[in-house]
Structure formats: C-alpha cells, structure tokens
C-alpha cells in the first residue's frame, strides 16, 4: 500500500455552500446567540453614525450665532451641551454593545471550533483504514492545525468584522445621502474604483496564495522525511547535501510567499489613499457648491458649513470599513479552502457496522450464563427472532473462497479457504507482499472481503459487531506504536482499569519486566515520541505485554518477535503458550523457528495458499517450505 498524498490545495468550487455549512455549524452550537450578535452589531454601527451626526449639529449651532463681525452674539453654551450629552450617550451604548457582542461572539467561535475539532476527530476515528492508507500523517495533522486555524480566523474575526463594516457602510451611506446626494455620488464613484482595484489585487494574490500553500506542503514533506531519518543523515555526513536541497525549496517558498503577501499588502494603502482622494475631491466640490450654489433642474444644490464638516468626517468613516472588509478577503479565501478540506473529511463514509452479535463474559457451570466479571470464558450473544441465544466462543475461524483486493482492480488474495479449529496455532509464511497480514486484516474486519465468506464460531463475521469482534482478537501488529504516557499506561492500553499487579504480570509474561525495571522510573517511566529511546525489540516486548493483559480469546501475532533475540523469544513464547492454552493463535513470522511448532502452516505466494500442513508434513512435501527451511530459497 504505497502512501499517496491527499489532494492538496484543491480549488474551492462552491464557496456559498461552504459558508452556509459553517453557519449551520455555528447555529447548531448556539441557535439564538448569533441573532443577538447581528442585532447588537446593527445597533452599534447605528450608534457610531448617530454619535458622529451630532458633530455637524454642533458646528451649525455655532455658525448660526455668528454675526457679521465674526463674533458670537447671544450664544448659550447649553445649546451645544445637549447634543454633546447625546453624543456621550451613544458612545457609551456603543461600548456596551461592542463588549456584549464581542463576548458572545467569542463564546460562539470558541465553542464552534471545539465542536468542529471534536466532530472531526470523532469522525476520523470512525473512518475505515482505507482512508489512512492513502494519506500521510502530515496531511491529516494539518487539518487540525492549518485548516481549523484558518476557520478560527474567519469565525472569530472576519465574520463580525465584515458584518459590522457592512452595517456601518450602509448607515453612513444613508446619512451621507441625507447630507448631500451630490457629494455622495463622488464618494460612491471612488469607492467603486477601490472595489475594482481590490478585486484585481486579491485575485492576483489568491493565485500566489495557492502556490504558497503548495510550497509550504512541499517544505513540510521534505522536513518530515529528513528529520525522521536524521540519524541516517548524520551517519552518512549528508548534512550539506540536505542543506542545499532545502535551500532550493526554501527559495521557492520565499518567492510565492512574497508575491502572495505583496499583492494583498497593497490593498491597505490603496484603500486608505483612495479614501484620502475622495476626501480631497469632496472638500473641493463641497466648497465650490457652498460658494456657487448652482441650480440644476430647478434645484439649488448647496449645503451648510456644518453639513460639509460633518460630511467630511463621514467620508473618513466610510472608507475605513471598506478597507477593513478588503483586508478580510484573503482570510476568508484561506478559511474557505480550510473549511472545504475539513468538510471533505467529515463527508467521508464511516466504517459500516451492521452486526448485532455481541461478545459477553460467561460463567460455564452447566449452562452458559452471562455475567459482568472477567471469567476467562466468552460467548457470542445472538438476537434472532426476538430470542437471545448464547454461543460459546471457541475461536474457530474459517475462510471459504475468500477474494480480496485493496482496490477493485488488483486482487491480492485469491480463493483463500482455511480452517483454524479452536485451540490451534495457525501460521502464515511467505514473502513480503504475499498477503499474510492481509488475511489477518480480514479476520478483524479492518477490510471487508470482496468475495467469499468468513465464519467465526459458525457466525458470519459481518453479523458480529465490529467492536466486539475486535475485542475478541488480541493483536500484536507488525508496526509497534506506543503512546505518550508511562510504560504502565502503555501496557494497560486495552484495559484501562488494570491493576499494577496485572500490568506487572503481563510484562513478566512478555519478558519485558527485566528491561522495564532497569529504566529510571521503572513502570512509571514516561514514553515520548513513540518510544524513541527504546530499542525495536523492547518496543515489541511492550506490544506483546499489551496484548497479554487483555487476555484475549484469540491472538494474532504479526511479526511480533522479529526484532527480539531468539533466546528472549523462546521465553516469550513459553509465556504466551501458557496464556493461550486451548485458545486459537494466528502467527505470521519471518523466522521459521517461530512457526515450527504450529498445528498448521500456510505457505502463501502471490495471494494464494500453495502449501499447507504441519512442519513435518511440509518438510516431507519437499516444496517451497522445504526450500525456505533449508535456505535454498530466499524469502523476499
């Protein structure tokens, strides 16, 4: 299964559908709060407008009292105190509204983000393995970092910013039209120019942003590979070469990064200065209108000094939200790309689980009775026609003519039939890629068969609940993965409530107790980075202990002892044999000494079973196994 990169930087095709879905998520978390925020944003932009409109009123009051000699006659300070108080009132309201909506918005965005993260993770856990087969770890991780982060920016900043700017623009526009429709025309014309320029710039930078994301993922991939193999780099003195290669990718990123940011950084000064241009033009034209008072179609077009002063203050208040909106455009574009990637994952189909047969502990006195505690005996609980029946779990696994392929084109297992009777040890031997691991992946339904049947104690495994099916199978996988946490926690991975005694017993059984006791904090030694400081063999021993502690009815060992020395392996095997006495064990191993004492050995080649029998039988057959055993044939 070669890892393929997930589609990166795909184009966002239905932006409105994505925006709608983001809003749906927000409304799902807080159904009403967002409406409150809308209302408060409208209220606060009205407050800004009203507060400013009192300015022109005050100037006009002053001008009214001005007499011919340029002095103020009969002016009462009280007359401007009232509008000033109103202004204060509106500013106070503005601050209160702003605080409340910011507070609500903060809760909305944080809660929504948590929900998105949690939903994403929960859904990811339910996805079939096929999903993970085709994606690199880095690609999946960047969903939680880069993409969720882009969404955070949009929900917590862009949405309120754009909304409040839009409302401010509309309300300011209304007031401006009331003051002077002619001047408004100038402002609107220049704003249109601004919008066109901004669109041009964002389009340009958008192109480079896509390229930048691609370059970023390239650098990500390169660094991940090199850092992962850093020790090999050191051993080969290859540092300089890596530096050179990195330099090339790094320069590429700098280039796209520069152009993407350059175009978007121009939006600010352009918006700002077109604002000033419109300010200059309105001042000139406003002044001319005031002096000439032209008559057009019988209308005298003019305005008071107060209106002109007020209008000019509004022009500034008009261009500011526009440049704020234009600044958000890029964030929204990035967020949409991120949201699309997140929703794509959420739309992936979960693993199907149509089974209803469950696994229960039983007491097996004379008759099977279900019980809560661990007895070492299990049964399948079937529901048929309203009746509950208990079928004892024996560990009898049968394949009938199973075909399987990871995709429909390439079949990797052909017509596999096999019978593992209860209590038997079944081994699979064969070259890499022969299909050994694949067979075990079908038993635990990591993948589903294309054709044929698999029966577990006579039950079609598709009828068994996946969770219970997997619980009945103790697995020691080819790749050992440890989790951040103590050694004890790692051993108790499948059995959260295990006691220290049980943990130590399992470690002893897996022969891991010796090295654990020599660690600085013994069982409480904290493991980081997938157990970097442990040798491969030690990791495998832990992995075996992890399987041993759940005391499974059926055990699958996939190259479980490949890095363990044969001496330790024989000790481990002794322990496992005593644990699994009377239970079914599947073994995949490279070393023939590991599989020799199996009840049946299946030799696989190109997805077919070519020989089967026990060790003696197979040697007598003088076939592939014999060749393998005598070293005449290479296991590749």
């Amino acid at each position: 299964m070669p890892p393929m990169r997930g589609p990166a930087g795909a184009k966002v095709e239905h932006p409105f559908r994505i925006i709608k879905r983001v809003f749906q998520m927000i409304f799902h978390v807080h159904p009403i709060a967002l409406y409150v925020v809308f209302a408060l944003i409208i209220a606060s932009s009205l407050c800004t407008t009203f507060a400013l409109s009192f300015l022109s009123r005050i100037v006009d009051v002053l001008v009214n009292y001005l007499d011919a000699h340029g002095t103020f006659v009969g002016f009462d300070f009280k007359e401007i105190l009232i509008p000033a108080f109103c202004m204060a009132g509106f500013y106070l309201l503005l601050a209160i509204f702003t605080y409340i909506y910011a507070r609500i918005m903060m809760n909305i965005s944080q809660d929504t983000l948590k929900k998105i993260r949690d939903d994403l993770f929960a859904h990811m856990e339910s996805l079939p393995l096929r999903y993970f087969d085709t994606r690199s770890t880095g690609a999946v991780m960047s969903l939680y970092t880069n993409d969720v982060d882009a969404l955070r920016q949009m929900i917590s900043q862009s949405i309120p910013q754009i909304l409040s700017s839009l409302f401010t623009i509309i309300s300011v526009l209304v007031v401006m039209i009331i003051y002077s429709p002619v001047l408004t025309l100038i402002t609107v014309t220049l704003t249109t120019i601004l919008v066109i320029v901004t669109r041009f710039l964002t389009k340009r930078s958008g192109k480079f942003f896509l390229k930048q994301q691609r370059d970023l993922s390239r650098i990500n991939g390169f660094c991940e590979e090199i850092f992962e193999g850093q020790k090999v780099v050191k051993v080969f003195n290859h540092e300089e070469k890596c530096n050179e290669e990195f330099e090339e990718i790094n320069n590429g990123l700098e280039h796209s990064n520069y152009f993407a940011n350059m175009f978007s950084s121009l939006v600010g000064p352009v918006a700002n200065n077109i604002g000033y241009l419109s300010f200059a033009l309105t001042t000139i034209i406003g002044a001319l209108l005031f002096i000439h008072k032209p008559v057009l179609f019988g209308w005298t077009i003019t305005l008071s000094i107060g209106q002109l002063s007020g209008y000019l203050a509004f022009v500034k208040n008009f261009s500011m939200p526009i440049s704020q909106v234009s600044n958000q455009v890029n964030f929204v574009m990035m967020a949409l790309a991120g949201a699309k990637r997140i929703f794509d994952v959420m739309d992936e189909k979960s693993e199907v689980d149509e089974g209803d047969v469950t696994l229960v502990n039983v007491r097996s006195d004379d008759e099977l009775t279900e019980c809560e505690e661990h007895t070492g005996h299990w049964a399948w609980k079937k529901y048929r026609d309203g009746q509950v029946t208990l079928v004892p779990l024996k560990g009898d696994v049968r394949f009938f003519g199973v075909d399987f392929g990871y995709d429909d084109k390439k079949i990797v297992l052909h017509d596999i039939s096999l019978y593992a009777e209860a209590g038997q040890k079944i081994a699979f031997v064969g070259a890499t890629g022969a299909g050994k691991t694949t067979i075990t992946n079908l038993i635990n339904r990591f993948y589903d068969v294309q054709d044929g049947k698999i029966r577990y104690d006579g039950i079609n495994i598709n009828h068994i609940k996946k969770k219970d099916l997997r619980k009945s199978l103790g697995m020691v996988l080819q790749d050992t993965h440890l989790f951040s946490g103590t050694i004890a926690e790692n051993i108790a991975y499948g059995k959260k409530n295990a006691t220290r005694e049980e943990i130590e017993k399992a470690a002893h059984l897996a022969n891991a107790d010796h090295f654990i006791e020599r660690l600085p904090q013994g069982y409480d030694t904290y493991i980081t980075g997938d157990g970097e400081n442990l040798s491969q063999g030690q990791r495998q021993l832990l992995s075996i202990a992890r399987a041993a502690i759940i005391d499974p009815p059926v055990l699958i060992l996939d190259e479980a002892t490949s890095s363990i020395d044969t001496w330790t392996e024989s000790l481990v095997q002794k322990g496992m044999d005593s644990l699994m006495k009377g239970r079914t064990v599947f073994v995949i191993a490279h070393r023939l000494s590991t599989v020799r004492n199996s009840n049946a050995i299946m030799v696989l080649e190109n997805g077919r079973i070519i020989e089967r029998g026990d060790h003696e039988d197979l040697l007598k057959q003088k076939g592939k196994y014999y060749q393998l055993y005598t070293g005449a044939f290479e296991l590749e």
């Binding site: 601050a95 991780m141 330099e247 990123l253 990064n257 077109i274 001319l288 635990n444 980081t528």
Partner: protein, 591 residues
C-alpha cells in the same frame, strides 16, 4: 528577543530600512491632508464679512489631490518593501533552523520530536513573519501619525493638544494591562495546542492499534479533554482581549466630546484664533492619534503572541550540538582498530542506571567482530560510541589509536560506516539513495557494492535498474531488500570500520552468509562489526562479544564462548537445532 530577529534580515537590509522610511513619508503626508481641508473651510468658504476665496480652494484642493497620490505611492512602496523583507526574514529563519538541525547530535535529535520541528519550521515561522512585517510597517506608521498629528495640533492650538496628551496614558494603560494579563494564558494555550496535535499524530500513526484494541472511545475522551483545554485557555485569554475594543471606543468617545466642547468654547470666545473648521480638524486628529495608538496595541498584541513562536524558533537555532569538533581536529584515521577503556554510558545525565558498564575491549584493524546479547543489552549503544553518535559518559573510546574526541567529526563518520537498526531509505531512486554513500560514485562502483550486498539481483530485474523509484521510507521494497540496499549504501563509503546493527535480520541465512563471505574477500582490511540475533551470522567472526545488561560477559571466539559460557551454549544449541540437521543443505544453498 526581537532585536535578534533583525539580524535575520540579512540580504534584505535595504528593504528593511526603506519600508519604515516610506511608511514615515506616507504617514506625514496623510496628516497634512486634513490640515488643508480645515484651511479651505476656515478661509476658502467665507462667511458674512469675509468673501469666499476661490484661489485658496483650488490651491489647497489640488495640493490635497497631489498629496493623496504621493501618499499612495509611498504606501505601495512600503508595502512592497515590507513584504519582501519579511518573506526574506522567514526564509532566513527557516534556513538557519534547518542548518542548525542538521548539526544536531543524536541526543539532540532525541529531544525534539519530528512533528514539533516541522511545526516550528512552518506555523511558527509564519507567525513571526506576520509580526515582523507589522513591525517594519505599522509599528512605524502609527507613532508617526501620532507624533505629526500631535505636533500640528500643538502649532494650531496647544490647549487642545494637551487634551490629546491627557488621554494617551489612559489608552496606553488599558492596552498594556490587557496584554500583560492575556499573555500567560496564550502561553498555556499554545502548550495545550501541542498536546492536542500530539494526540492527533499518535492516533493517525497508530490507527491500527486503536482499532484493534477498540479504544476509539478512550482516544476520543483524550482528544475531547485536550480540545477542551485549548478552548478553556483561549477563552480565558480572549475574555481579556475583547475588553480592549469597547474600552478604546469609550476613551475615543470621551476625547471627541471634550474636544468638541472645548473647541466650541474657544471658537466662541475666539481663543487662539480658533475657527469652526478647526473643530472637524481636531476631531480628525483625535481619531488619527487614538486610532494609531490602538493600531500600535494591535501590533504589540500580535508581537506578544508571536513571541512564543519566536522563542520556539530560537530554541531550535540555539540548541548547540553537544558533540563539537575539537579545536585542532585530526583529519586522518590511521586504521580500523577500536579500543574501549572503562567506558560507561547512559542516555541522560539523570539516569543513574547506565546502559553500558565498564566496557574494556580491544579490536584490531581488519577483524570481524560479532556482538550478541539479549534485547536491551546495550549492543546498539555500544556501537554508537564508535563513530561518536553519542559521547561516553565515562571512560574513553579510541579509533585508530586516537580518542574519538580528537577527530574531525566528518572524517570520523566518513571512515566509520554504520548501518543503523532503524534504517531509512529516502524518496528518490535507488541511485539517489546510493549516492548518499559517495556523491561521486560511478555506475560500476554502485553495481559492485550492490553485488557485495547481494542486492544486484533484484535491482537488475527491475526495468529501471538503478533508476527504480524509491518511495518515502522505502515502502515499495521488502524488509530484506531495504536492508541490503542500506548495506550497499554504507559500503560505497569505503570505510575503515563497517558496523551492521542487526542489518540482516530480514535476510535469509543463505544470503546472509553470502554477504559475509563477500565482505571477507573484498574488504579484508576493513574492521567489521556485526550485531545479530542469529548465532549463524556471527559464529565465524574472529571474536564474539557477548553483552548482557550492559556488561561484557564474554569476549572471544565462537569455540571459546561455547566452552566457557553456558547461556551462549544453550542459545546456540536451541538455534542450531533447526538448522543443524539441515546444515548440509544450507551449504548447498550457498553454492
């Protein structure tokens, strides 16, 4: 911390300096525009006695338009320079980080996880880049706006200017308090983010383990908990941050009203020749001054947030390899002899239980040494001291008669070729991977080492031969094929010492024997150290080192060990049982 950052503008100094200059010009011009406006309103329009003055309107108006274009030009220039400089700084940071990581010793590598390093190189650098761009643009623009507006107000009306000044401490105080209180929460939040990413990474890598053990629910709980932590601390930090906007609005509003009232009073009483056009001017300046302070605060906030990122970046750059070249390094390794004298070793200083205890062994140049021992007996640790991948905690290791610490590291590692237990092939081709061993290797040399490592057959069956594609981690090759390619790669170095750390575990016994035979005949003078689990891989070595729990149990030939060491004898017998009766056929297989 940020002063250090400016050093990384190397190669982009000109842009780094020009950007603030352009921004300064833009800001000054911007402040002049409202001044002209008040001139038009005050003196151009005319009221009552004074007639309108069209000249003033046209002159000032045209000047305003020109100034707007000048400001536009410099605004654009500053944008271009600032992005160029910040993209350059980001590039330099990434480059320095990468180069620093390349100098790390093994123990340095152990202390950083790959995912953390990659995050630092991408996300953290992005944050710092944003902050840097703001620093050389907005951080200059805002104070200039502030100062010029204040100066102009002082010239026009010093009393109003004093009012402006009176408001500044309030605004600054609010901003500083908010930032100081929010910063610690942000720091915690970043840590919680790391934890969340760790859970994701582990789950994706170990998804089969999760599914096999049916622990999806537990893993979800784990994730929900860290997701909740992230939310809690984000909320704690943002709860403080959101106070800023309304508080600033209040202060701005108060300033506006007081300026209007005082301004009106001055106009009426004709103090300092104040005119009504000035009121609009003062309010615009008030907005400019206070909003520039808010802008500064926003930038500072971003800088504070990026400080955590910058710290993480500098941590990578400033972590110095704990293995440094000696002052007068030796550039020549005389021969492949190795001596261990009273060597103790442990991976960390706190660890009181050493991995290796009092190792004393002598290996002559050209010998083949087998190392044998149980899981975790210290085999890999022992050999990693030879090419100074780690330094011994106590005692000395000699190669070619000299202490390994005297050698130039490059020379030493060039002469000591290690095939690591956890070995890696890199994405590329077979050829590109082999070239790691020796950049200038010819086709013949490559084919020769492939033959030595018994890897020629499967390479030749490939259509593309040496140019066959290798995917990341070499996943398209089987375990045994990977191991043999790694051995071939190590052989290309023509080392004086060759170390194979369990490098033939996935290779069958016959091929294993073939490889060893090739070593014997083709590189007889090279010291060969072979770690193996299979007795058959080492029994024909000149000497066998038997390690247990970090101590040398025996060091001698196979025959000697068979005689004197009971465990060794037992293991050999148990391993040979299977092979012994077939050993004739094994020999046949070899031929």
């Amino acid at each position: 911390m940020f002063r250090k950052l400016f050093r990384y503008s190397k190669g982009y100094r000109l842009q780094t300096i020009l950007s603030p200059i352009c921004v300064t010009i833009e800001a000054i011009v911007e402040v002049l525009i409202p001044l002209l406006m008040s001139e038009i309103i005050n003196n151009g329009l005319g009221t009552g006695t004074t007639p309108a003055n069209l000249n003033i309107i046209w002159e000032c108006g045209l000047l305003m338009v020109i100034l707007a274009f000048v400001s536009l030009l410099f605004g654009i220039l500053s944008g271009v320079f600032a992005t160029k400089a910040s993209a350059g700084v980001a590039k330099n940071l990434r480059k320095d980080m990468f180069q620093s990581i390349e100098t790390y010793s093994f123990s340095n590598i152990d202390s950083f996880s790959t995912s953390s390093l990659v995050t630092r190189m991408t996300t953290d650098v992005n944050n710092v880049q944003m902050a840097f761009q703001m620093m050389i643009r907005i951080l200059f623009r805002a104070p200039i706006l502030f100062i010029t507006a204040l100066v102009l107000t002082f010239i026009k009306n010093w009393q109003i200017a004093l009012i402006f000044l009176a408001f500044c401490p309030f605004l600054l105080g609010v901003i500083i308090v908010i930032m100081m209180r929010a910063h610690p929460y942000f720091k915690v939040m970043f840590k919680k983010y790391d934890r969340l990413n760790l859970v994701v990474q582990e789950n994706v890598n170990a998804i089969r383990t999760v599914k096999a053990f049916v622990t999806e629910e537990e893993e979800k709980e784990k994730f929900y908990m860290s997701s909740n932590d992230v939310m809690t601390y984000s909320k704690k930090a943002e709860k403080i941050i959101i106070l800023q906007q309304p508080l600033c609005q209040l202060i701005m509003g108060a300033a506006n009203i007081i300026i209007i009232l005082v301004g009106a009073h001055m106009v009426v009483e004709n103090i300092l020749g104040t005119k009504y056009g000035d009121i609009t001017l003062f309010i615009m300046y008030a907005q400019q001054i206070l909003s520039s302070l808010i802008m500064v605060s926003m930038v500072l906030l971003n800088i504070v947030m990026s400080r955590a990122a910058l710290e993480r970046i500098f941590e990578v750059i400033e972590t110095k390899s704990d293995l440094v070249n000696p002052e007068n390094p030796v550039y020549d390794v005389a021969d492949g002899s190795i001596d261990f004298k009273h060597v103790f070793f442990s991976y960390s200083k706190e660890n009181k239980k050493p991995v290796l205890k009092d190792i004393n062994i002598q290996i002559h140049s050209g010998e083949t040494i087998g190392i044998f021992g149980g899981t975790g007996s210290g085999k890999s640790s022992l050999i990693s001291l030879i090419s100074r991948l780690y330094d011994a905690s106590e005692g000395e290791v000699f190669v070619g008669g000299r202490n390994v610490k005297e050698y130039d590291l490059f020379t030493l590692r060039d002469q000591v070729s290690v095939v690591l237990q956890k070995n890696v092939l890199f994405s590329g081709t077979v050829r590109s991977n082999l070239l790691w061993g020796n950049e200038n290797a010819t086709e013949e040399e490559m084919m020769e080492v492939l033959k030595l490592a018994s890897a020629d057959e499967f390479i030749l069956t490939k259509e593309e031969g040496l140019d066959a594609i290798v995917e990341q981690g070499g996943v398209n090759f089987s375990g045994g094929q990977k191991q043999r390619l790694c051995i071939a790669r190590a052989l290309l170095k023509k080392p004086k010492i060759l170390i194979l750390d369990d490098s033939t575990s996935a290779v069958d016994t016959a091929t294993d024997a073939k490889i060893r035979a090739a070593f014997k005949s083709y590189i007889p003078s090279t010291t060969k150290i072979i770690i193996a689990q299979r007795i058959s891989s080492i029994m024909d070595a000149d000497k066998i080192l038997f390690l247990d729990k970090g101590e040398v149990i025996s060091f001698g030939t196979h025959e000697e060990l068979m005689k004197e060491n009971e465990i060794y004898r037992e293991i050999t017998n148990s391993q040979m049982k299977g092979i012994a009766d077939e050993s004739d056929s094994v020999k046949k297989g070899e031929n």
